[in-house]
């Protein structure tokens, strides 16, 4: 347990104290106590920047289950440090924002901050764990805490629906990911990411390699809301806005990105990885931005925009993986996609965080988030308007904001991919280009919608619940900080490049590091009159035209039938699953014991029968069999007659008496086979049970008392015949092949010398194996007590 472990676990420990702080310091907003923690963690993690800058890493191991190779290994390199700083940095700002956003009086703050701290700790655990199982543990904790946070206002039905949906989808992916991790373990014998990376060369031809890849990508795609699993993210917008800003834009949805980046050194070698990651990513980017335009809710626009931007980062990571296949000396030429992915990851966290906070402010100050009701808020909320302009223009990819730089690099990466003459990219690369460019146009349009439909245009006071006014300063601090970062990162991008981005790239594509141990990266603002710039200019021109004529072409969204959406598919499949499983249950759980007995006996016949056939187990030999006497034959005939009479008896009384005759014949068999004790007992027991049967017979209710003949049913007949045949076959086989000697010789020799009794059966019952007798006595005692209580302690009709 080192300080690093404590840093990961500290949010969990702190969460324990939240309820006490909430209860005993009611007049101070609980958020103030919580705020200290992420700030302290942020300061702590920023000390590691120096370490990772010099190309070093930090590894601390704490034993958890060493015998299974599961240890809590915390590992800091460029990539995990980048995420840890994002989590704690944005975490601090979000908590500060939430202090002003959530009311001290109305909300259950203890719940909120416990969930949030759980999430923060889990997220830190995800990014800092080297062990895959530990990573998975924290991964599921993020799903769980996200579920709790989305359902924070649990009295609303939509919150519960969103929480359930996100839970089902992300847990589905998480379980698939666990499968992938286990496959990795089967191939390499280690859960440690670092050790797996060193074993890549051996496992890349393994049969499990591609299944592991697909399973792990399922986990990453569900978490990071890629097509077609993005559907949970828009519904997760029912969470409080600080949660949306933190989880569903800056951190949790990037866990999938982190996973893809983290395992790139393992899987990037395979073409499947490149195609899946980049194609799904680029299509998600296009699809998300296309759908964002039709939304009318501010947070829904932002949710689809997050989907789109995550798709963009994902596709960049995929394209970056393709760089491994290029044998070119000019490495940085192709690694630009990875650089763009990391840079945009940071940029997205800044501007999307601020935009969510803006949406929260608008909601908080006007009472609605519907852009059809909003408009003309510019003069009421000048600061909020400025922040949203900065965020939205950065999102659209305009200078002088950081989104411009990463969007340019995105285009560069997409253009480069067509130049790589691998995997038929010379023909298919154009596909990337089209999706990227069209997606960017839609991105531009919805960014403009976001700002101008909210803050400009006609002010509609009659549609608003409150009179709008500027938010309190405390609420504005966090978005202001984020917005200023947006601008700072544009003007001084290289403060990030060496300190954060370069070490992160070293983790993602370690095999491409140049000779000096660094990537030679320099983010420049001006590339000259390059194709990327013309693409951006094209985006702006067409985007502006598209925005201005939005009302005319919005109709195309109605072309897409409601029945064919993914949400509809999700809902229908849930309902269908529910219905079909209940139908299935109703089909076989009939409530009739007769049917269950048919299942049991049918399986009995099938399993034993096939075993006998497959194992060729049937054998029949008369070796060691005793000669059959005449009495046995006659007695067996008597027994058979009694049995047949029982089955075909017309009245119940006949059946009972016939059954009695079978029992007495059995007693005679015992006599014949020299078992006096058994014969005695059998006679008494048979008499008593016949008497009991008669008792039951007498008390049958009048109404249904029909002395009816047993009706013939073919199924029952076949099953009865089958069971009889199988048991006979098994008995014959077992008797024909005796595996070992019997132990009865011991009892014969020793029953008098050791136990002092001449009746061997009784000596066995009470001496050699007295324990069985003890518990059979207990069984009889229980039965007697049971009968007594059933008769005496009947619940009376009126008490029911």
């Amino acid at each position: 347990m080192t300080l690093l472990h404590l840093a990961i676990l500290f949010p969990f420990l702190f969460a324990i104290f939240i309820p006490f702080l909430y209860k005993y310091f009611r007049n101070i907003h609980t958020g103030w106590f919580v705020l200290i923690l992420p700030i302290a963690l942020f300061t702590y993690f920023s000390q590691f920047i120096k370490t990772t800058m010099s190309g070093k890493t930090v590894i601390e191991t704490m034993n958890w289950i060493p015998s299974l190779g599961i240890n809590f290994t915390a590992y800091i390199d460029g990539l995990s440090l980048l995420f840890a700083l994002l989590i704690t940095g944005i975490g601090s700002l979000v908590i500060l924002y939430s202090i002003y956003y959530l009311s001290k009086e109305k909300e259950k703050l203890n719940h909120f901050y416990v969930y949030l701290l759980l999430f923060m700790g889990a997220m830190l655990g995800v990014v800092l764990s080297d062990n895959l199982i530990v990573l998975y543990t924290f991964w599921e904790l993020t799903s769980l805490s996200s579920f709790l946070l989305i359902g924070y206002w649990y009295t609303r039905e939509k919150s519960r629906y969103g929480a359930q949906k996100s839970m089902l989808i992300t847990i589905f992916g998480g379980l698939a990911m666990l499968g992938g991790f286990i496959m990795l373990y089967m191939m390499t014998g280690s859960y440690s990411v670092r050790e797996i990376i060193t074993a890549v060369a051996e496992i890349s031809t393994d049969g499990l390699f591609v299944p592991a890849l697909i399973f792990i990508l399922l986990g990453a795609f569900t978490k990071s809301a890629q097509f077609p699993f993005y559907i949970w993210l828009p519904d997760a917008m029912e969470a409080p806005t600080p949660v949306s800003a933190y989880l569903h834009s800056a951190t949790m949805v990037k866990a999938g990105i982190y996973l893809v980046a983290r395992l790139s050194p393992v899987f990037a070698i395979s073409p499947e990885w490149f195609w899946l990651v980049s194609l799904f990513g680029i299509f998600t980017m296009f699809w998300g931005s296309f759908n964002a335009v039709k939304q009318t809710d501010l947070k829904a626009i932002l949710a689809f925009s997050t989907v789109s931007q995550l798709g963009m980062i994902m596709s960049l990571l995929g394209i970056g993986a393709a760089a491994l296949h290029i044998d070119s000396m000019n490495d940085s030429y192709f690694t630009i996609a990875t650089l763009a992915a990391i840079f945009h990851l940071i940029n997205h966290a800044t501007f999307k965080g601020s935009l969510f906070m803006v949406a929260g402010i608008v909601d908080h100050e006007t009472g609605t988030r519907d852009i059809r009701k909003l408009g003309g808020l510019m003069s009421f909320m000048p600061i909020t308007f400025t922040i949203s302009i900065i965020g939205a223009f950065s999102m659209a990819g305009l200078p002088p904001f950081n989104g411009f730089l990463s969007k340019e690099m995105f285009f560069t990466g997409v253009l480069r991919v067509a130049e790589m003459n691998i995997f038929n990219l010379e023909t298919l690369g154009i596909l990337f280009l089209i999706f990227a460019w069209v997606g960017s146009i839609f991105t531009f349009i919805y960014s403009m919608v976001l700002v101008f439909k909210t803050f400009t245009g006609k002010y509609q006071p009659e549609k608003l619940e409150k009179k709008p006014h500027e938010a309190p300063i405390g609420m504005l601090i966090s978005p202001i900080i984020l917005a200023s970062l947006v601008i700072i990162f544009f003007f001084f991008p290289n403060i990030l490049s060496l300190s954060i981005i370069d070490p992160a790239m070293q983790s993602i594509i370690p095999s491409l590091i140049g000779e000096n141990g660094y990537f030679d990266i320099e983010i420049s603002h001006w590339h000259g009159w390059s194709p990327e710039l013309f693409m951006t200019i094209g985006v702006v021109i067409i985007g502006t035209i598209g925005f201005l004529s939005l009302a005319k072409w919005r109709k195309i969204y109605n072309l897409h039938p409601k029945k064919l959406t993914l949400n509809k598919a999700y809902d229908t499949s849930l309902i269908a699953l529910d219905r079909s499983s209940s139908r299935f249950t109703k089909f076989y759980m009939t409530g009739f014991i007769r049917d269950y007995l048919i299942y049991i006996f049918a399986f009995f016949i099938i399993i034993l029968g096939t075993t006998i056939i497959i194992k060729d187990a049937f054998s029949f030999s008369l070796k060691g069999a005793a000669p059959i006497g005449l009495y046995e034959v006659i007695l067996a005939a008597v027994m058979a007659i009694g049995t047949i009479t029982t089955i075909f008896a017309k009245s119940r009384l006949t059946a009972i008496i016939a059954l009695g005759s079978v029992g007495y014949s059995l007693a005679l068999f015992f006599v014949l086979f020299r078992a006096p004790d058994l014969a005695l007992t059998q006679l008494i027991v048979e008499t008593v049970s016949v008497a009991l049967y008669l008792l039951c017979f007498y008390f049958l209710p009048e109404l249904k008392k029909k002395d009816k003949k047993v009706s013939f049913k073919l199924t029952n007949f076949i099953i009865a015949l089958g069971v009889g045949t199988i048991v006979t076959l098994i008995a014959l086989s077992a008797n024909s092949e005796r595996a070992s000697q019997t132990i009865s010789a011991f009892f014969i020799e020793n029953s008098y010398t050791l136990a002092g009794g001449k009746n061997m059966v009784n000596v066995i019952l009470v001496d050699f194996r007295g324990f069985d007798t003890l518990f059979e006595i207990t069984v009889l005692g229980i039965a007697a007590l049971g009968i007594y209580s059933m008769i005496k302690l009947r619940v009376k009709e009126e008490e029911k």
């Binding site: 009479t645 005679l668 006599v671 014969a679 008499t687 008497a691 007498y698």
Partner: protein, 94 residues
């Protein structure tokens, strides 16, 4: 010689058991069946006794006694059941 006689008597017993069983199955009324059961018990007693001689064993003498008692109790119980409808009468307090 004695063995032949014993086996012969066993045969006759067997036939008489089969006859009682026929009555047991066919018996038009319940009392017929009860009587058949009683006769069956006595036949079984004799059968067991002959077996004991044949097997030269005294281990089954208790069985004989037991069958005698059970057959008696059983017949009485059936008789009561047919006559009064119950086997064990209760004292009615009211």
């Amino acid at each position: 010689m004695i063995k032949v006689i014993l086996i012969c008597s066993l045969f006759f017993l067997t036939f008489s058991i089969l006859a009682t069983i026929y009555r047991l199955v066919k018996g038009p009324s319940a009392p017929d069946r009860v009587q058949a059961l009683d006769a069956l018990g006595i036949n079984i007693i004799s059968g067991v006794a002959i077996f004991s001689v044949l097997l030269r064993s005294i281990g089954f003498f208790e069985v004989i006694l037991l069958i005698g008692i059970l057959s008696f109790i059983g017949t009485i119980a059936f008789a009561r059941f047919i006559e009064r409808g119950v086997v064990i009468e209760r004292k009615h307090s009211e």
